[in-house]
């Protein structure tokens, strides 16, 4: 049975990176890899072998949707669900993101208290 232990998160804003680290590592106990943009995420994903990938949408160098496209072309990551972190959560926009290959979206700003639980339940839904 698969367990959730490693999370890769691409986000360019340092403050949000710090909060996510506190939330996912301190509260959730997960191993977290932070990337500053889509390009870094694409480059390090296979080596890190995360159980789930979180992508911000607006990032310099390579944005979320482009990174997703690249990641979904890597066979080693076929079973890894990808989730967008975005302020846009209108139903149509969520459907658009899912059509690109994301399993779901998490609304920004996120609640640091509950982020771990949210990631876990979305991961469980995707994997089981």
């Amino acid at each position: 049975m698969a367990t959730l232990s490693k999370i890769l998160y691409a986000e360019d804003e340092p403050d949000i990176q710090a909060i996510a680290q506190m939330s996912l590592e301190m509260m959730g106990g997960y191993e977290l890899k932070l990337c500053n943009n889509g390009r870094e995420a694409v480059e390090s994903a296979v080596a890190f072998a995360p159980d789930v990938i979180l992508l911000d949408v607006m990032m310099p160098e390579m944005d979320g949707p482009t990174a997703l496209k690249n990641l979904r072309e890597m066979p080693e990551l076929n079973d890894v669900p990808i989730i967008f972190m975005t302020a846009k959560v209108q139903t149509q926009e969520v459907e658009d993101y899912k059509a690109l290959g994301a399993v779901d979206v998490i609304a920004k700003p996120f609640d640091p208290m509950t982020l771990s639980d949210t990631v876990k339940s979305l991961w469980q839904r995707a994997v089981y």
Binding site: E13, D15, I16, A18, I19, M22, S23, M26, M27, M58, A87, K108, P109, F110, D111, P112, M113
Partner: protein, 560 residues
């Protein structure tokens, strides 16, 4: 005491969060300098595109980060500005004086927003643990406590028919434990217990003192002397009923105390050819809990109003196809839209034009640039008043259900929906059985009470989305959106079964039961386009007639 029990992990987390939050607040000044620089650049001829893009990015980050640190006001204003900028950039609208003025106004709101977190992380945790807030759609929970098991049981059963979740106990010693495990929304307590004549009152008094959560309670008693009543008042009981209890009055009180009737969100229609402004206003209104819809083509306004009746309309004054004033006059050509407030939004500050706008059917004026601090409370206040006044027009005085005209209109409107997107809906027509005999035997006041009981019963048992109307003297119509007739049948069947067990009482302490007959139909019965609501109502009526002919106390499905 809470800190001792709090997880060490959580405490460390909170401390770190608080520190980061302070750092963020300290760094805000620098962020604003960056933002101002980008905005300056955007206002130059060469720097427009780059400046706007940078500004958008900076505001986007601010929205996300501020929100995560619970600085919800900054986050909201920043998000509003972000939406405006995004739409401006994407729709390539002219970057004119109005746009600049609007961006300036929103920037000012962002900078002036309070930097005290609205929910400091520390108390946020406490709130989550202490309050078990009732989710929308959950049944309200009632705790009944009476050492007379007969009374406790019968009251409990009656309340369950009305859709409450009920627990009944017979001894004061079980009180604390049950409050903790059941989390009642209201407590109904007898006064007289083995422990003492006024023991019930003492127990409730103690409960209020020790509990951090405020549970309203109602006293139910055979005591009628003034001493007991005085004690009840001092213990801050919300109501005092004498046995045998009038179930309808008790229900009214419980409903009032559990605030089961939440105000449904206001529907606001925003009409402006400026897409960015429409996006901005709908975002702000939706954020504040209203249901806002924007249209940028004023010519589609009548179709839109047919589809969904707004509680208030925000209308721009200057649009290419027609002026706001002309649109207002078109709206007022319809009697049924007479009471919907129309608020003009404009940069115009000419007194004459404002005056004329109001003369021609407008109700009020809001100046651009739009500010969240003004828009939200203004619209809310106007819509609220309109709803109170409008309520008188669309509701039946006795039962507070929708009146004949309004429910018919609602059916027609639902028919429009069906013609547009084939979403099935059902109608149930019900009529109280032998109502004339109730009036003849017990009097009209009791008859009225029965109708009120049925109205309350339907309201508490049906879904929030179902519309209930008083169609005639003892005739009611229920409109079930997004429901087929078999489902509607099941729902009404259950209601009929339970309502027939409700005990109706008179002043003379007579008890009796009441049933009704009903006919159900859904719109799939007719396979034609552009159906009329009245045809459907007639068919439901025929099914109702069948039910009466077949012996009453039953529901029949219309034949198609």
């Amino acid at each position: 005491m809470d800190n001792l029990h709090m997880d060490a992990k959580q405490q460390a987390f909170e401390e770190k969060m608080n520190k980061m939050q302070s750092q963020f607040i300290d760094g805000l000044a620098d962020r604003f300098v960056e933002i101002d620089a980008a905005w300056e650049n955007a206002q130059t001829i060469d720097g427009l595109e780059e400046g706007l893009a940078t500004l958008h990015e900076l505001i986007h980050k601010l929205t996300g980060t501020a929100g995560t640190f619970y600085l919800t006001e900054i986050s909201m204003h920043a998000r509003a500005l972000e939406i405006l900028l995004k739409t401006l950039i994407e729709s390539a609208q002219p970057f004119n004086y109005e746009a600049i003025s609007q961006i300036n106004a929103l920037l000012a709101e962002v900078k002036q927003a309070p930097t005290l977190p609205s929910k400091a992380p520390a108390t946020h945790l406490k709130d989550l643990k202490l309050k078990e807030k009732r989710q929308a759609g959950e049944k309200a929970r009632v705790l009944v406590i009476d050492d007379d098991t007969g009374v406790a049981n019968s009251l409990s059963i009656q309340l369950k028919y009305f859709g409450f979740d009920v627990e009944a106990i017979n001894s004061l010693s079980e009180l604390d434990q049950l409050v903790k495990s059941f989390h009642p929304d209201v407590i109904i307590a007898d006064i007289n217990f083995p422990e003492g004549e006024l023991a019930g009152i003492d127990a409730m008094h103690q409960l209020t003192q020790t509990n951090k959560v405020d549970i309203p309670f109602i006293f139910l008693t055979s005591h009628t002397d003034i001493t007991a009543r005085l004690q009840a008042v001092r213990a801050q009981g919300k109501a005092f009923f004498t046995k045998p209890v009038n179930i309808s009055k008790l229900l009214d009180k419980i409903t009032e105390l559990t605030s089961m009737e939440e105000e449904t969100p206001f529907h606001v229609l925003v009409v402006d050819d400026d897409k960015a402004l429409v996006e901005l206003m709908t975002y702000l209104l939706n954020k504040s809990g209203m249901k806002a819809k924007g249209i940028s083509n004023p010519l589609s306004i009548l179709d839109e109003m047919d589809f969904e009746r707004p509680d208030l309309i925000l209308l721009d004054l200057h649009m290419p196809e027609c002026t706001g004033i002309e649109i207002a006059q078109v709206i007022r050509q319809h009697d049924r839209y007479a009471h919907i407030p129309i608020v003009f939004v404009s940069a115009e500050d000419s007194r004459d034009l404002q005056f004329e706008a109001v003369l021609r059917g407008g109700d009020d004026f809001l100046m651009k640039p739009v500010k969240a601090e003004e828009l939200i409370p203004f619209v809310h206040s106007r819509a609220h008043r309109a709803r109170i006044m409008g309520s008188q027009l669309i509701r039946d005085g006795l039962t507070n259900l929708y009146n004949h005209t309004y429910i018919k209109e609602s059916i027609n409107r639902e028919m429009e929906h069906y013609n547009r997107d084939h979403s099935t809906f059902s109608i149930g027509m019900i009529d109280v059985d032998h109502f004339k005999e109730v009036n003849d035997r017990y009097g009209h006041m009791v008859g009225d009470q029965v109708l009120k009981n049925l109205a309350n019963f339907l309201t508490s048992r049906l879904r929030k989305t179902d519309l209930i109307g008083r169609y005639g003297g003892e005739e009611f119509i229920v409109l079930f959106p997004n429901t087929d007739k078999l489902t509607a049948m099941k729902i009404m069947q259950e209601i009929l079964e339970n309502f027939s067990k409700v005990v109706h009482t008179t002043e003379a302490q007579d008890e009796f039961f009441v049933t009704f007959s009903g006919g159900i139909i859904d719109c799939s019965c007719e396979h034609k386009e552009n159906l009329k609501g009245s045809a459907l109502v007639n068919l439901a009526d025929q099914a109702l007639y069948e039910a009466k002919a077949n012996g009453r106390n039953r529901i029949e499905l219309a034949e198609c």
